[in-house]
């Protein structure tokens, strides 16, 4: 059993305001083709009082990732920290992972032969792919590898209301628990004290 906790995304839909900051940050960070949306913000029940809300969805890096299980060519691999990645050099673009995914995460560019569907692209949790870390090849195929640089994925880093949280499952739970526990306990202003700017 590994000592790593599993990395997870969590979107607090009470905070998500449908600003698309996460999805644009993702597109921009990985310089994705316009047809690819690794991350999407979905808005439900638009305009209906009390029911409208939005949430941000990308690959959820499932524990028992169905995409990995249905893949006919075994192009998926799951890192020790739970990030679900795939090898674009093995993928054949069949689309089965999309059929298996409950979140619509797998994306297919139209860059195959004669403008047909190419190999699959999806959220990597900014952890690149099987190529050497931070190599040009990795960057070209999978975009940035921010995890290797010790950075938070671009989407969560850019989230304007900090609705989207990412990290190992325990840390994400902790942040959320603190949020819930702090309800009604007043704002958190540091007790730094104050000494006079003038005189004394």
């Amino acid at each position: 059993m590994s000592s790593f906790a599993r990395m997870k995304f969590y979107c607090d839909e009470k905070r998500c305001i449908d600003c698309d900051g996460c999805s644009v940050a993702c597109d921009e960070a990985h310089e994705l083709p316009v047809g690819i949306s690794r991350r999407k913000v979905i808005l439900l029940n638009e305009g209906i009082e009390g029911k409208e809300f939005s949430t941000s969805v990308a690959c959820m890096h499932c524990t028992d990732a169905p995409c990995e299980q249905v893949c006919p060519v075994n192009c998926f691999y799951i890192r020790e920290d739970g990030i679900v990645l795939h090898d674009k050099n093995i993928c054949i673009g069949c689309g089965y992972c999309l059929y298996a995914c409950p979140f619509g995460a797998p994306q297919f560019p139209t860059d195959g032969a004669f403008g047909t569907r190419g190999v699959m692209d999806k959220c990597t949790m900014c952890a690149g792919g099987p190529e050497p870390t931070n190599s040009d090849a990795e960057r070209k195929l999978y975009g940035q590898n921010r995890i290797a640089e010790g950075k938070v994925p671009a989407c969560a880093a850019m989230c304007s209301t900090k609705a989207l949280i990412v990290g190992d499952a325990q840390s994400v739970s902790k942040i959320y628990r603190e949020r819930v526990a702090s309800v009604g306990h007043g704002v958190q202003s540091a007790p730094y004290g104050w000494s006079k700017a003038y005189g004394k």
Binding site: D64, P66, V73, D87, R117, V172
Partner: protein, 307 residues
């Protein structure tokens, strides 16, 4: 027809549901549990709810059944015919007698076009199903592209084929009798088999290849184009993603049937009836073969004094 398809699908579904539970689904991955979260009310996340119908079914079938069934059916059919060849052996007919001209040039060209399409589509299909063993990558990806190109050839050939053989392929009472005696293939004796121009086995193959072929084309096209927006789907309360899932399921099961009958067809024409391949080359069948294997057709020709 729609009812039949839906019935079939629901049967498949029921079958797979009985198997459900062995594949861990993804509900535990949605994040931190929060009792007040609106996301936990399932009717709101439409797509995840629908996932439980077709998504779960597809995942179950793909993980546990498709590969096994394809393997089993292919090997099973081959073994059965191998045994048949050893135990019962092929039928031999005299080819020195009169030749009856049954397939004109047009029909033969169409047949061979379709044959070529099958020769492309079926092996490339198998390459995708058993992509793991091939290591994926360019080889299998190219097989996928070839699968689509083969489909184009198939579309071109299947339409005239359907029209040209539609009438003689309609079922008759002979077919029932033919089925009861298994086409006379289970005996070494040369028996008279009740059949018109085409016997029940050929008819089965025809209908599967044409009607089943249309379904294969439609489901394949759905998966190929992936992104489509048809109002009719909405009226059936189906989402695109579910159409894709259903397409993949149907495509796989029909693929099994097509594979089985394709292998049968090959065995019959190449091995089981010696010299029958000749009819698709020259267009002629020997009188002896027609007399036994297509007895009703033979009688009809006699009556019309064409022989």
């Amino acid at each position: 027809m729609k009812k039949v398809i839906l019935l079939c699908l629901s049967m498949i579904s029921a079958f797979a549901q009985s198997y459900a539970g062995k594949v861990p689904l993804v509900s535990q991955n949605q994040g931190v549990y929060d009792g007040t979260s609106r996301l936990n009310s399932p009717e709101l996340l439409h797509n995840i709810m629908l996932y439980q119908n077709w998504g779960g079914l597809f995942v179950n079938l793909q993980i546990h059944w498709f590969r096994t069934l394809f393997f089993g059916i292919t090997v099973g059919v081959l073994v059965v015919f191998f045994l048949h060849y050893i135990v019962i052996g092929p039928k031999k007919f005299a080819h020195d007698g009169k030749a009856i001209y049954v397939y004109n040039l047009f029909k033969r060209i169409i047949h061979w076009m379709a044959a070529l399409a099958f020769v492309i589509v079926i092996p490339t299909g198998f390459m995708m199903i058993f992509g793991k063993e091939l290591g994926g990558g360019t080889l299998v990806l190219d097989a996928r592209y070839l699968h689509s190109i083969g489909t184009v050839l198939f579309i071109v050939s299947v339409i005239p084929m359907f029209l040209m053989w539609l009438i003689p392929m309609l079922a008759t009472f002979d077919d029932v009798k033919w089925l009861f005696m298994a086409g006379g293939y289970l005996t070494k004796k040369k028996v008279v088999v009740p059949a018109g121009q085409f016997n029940a086995g050929q008819k089965m193959w025809f209908w599967l290849a044409t009607l089943g072929g249309f379904v294969m084309i439609i489901t394949g096209a759905a998966m190929y184009f992936e992104d489509f927006d048809l109002a009719i789907l909405k009226s059936l309360n189906l989402d695109q993603i579910d159409i894709l899932r259903i397409s993949a399921i149907v495509h796989n099961f029909l693929g099994m049937a097509v594979t089985a009958l394709f292998v049968t067809h090959l065995y019959m024409s190449l091995f089981a009836i010696k010299g029958s391949l000749d009819s698709m080359i020259s267009g002629n069948k020997s009188e002896d073969e027609v007399k036994y294997m297509h007895s009703s057709f033979y009688k009809k020709l006699k009556k019309e004094d064409k022989i």
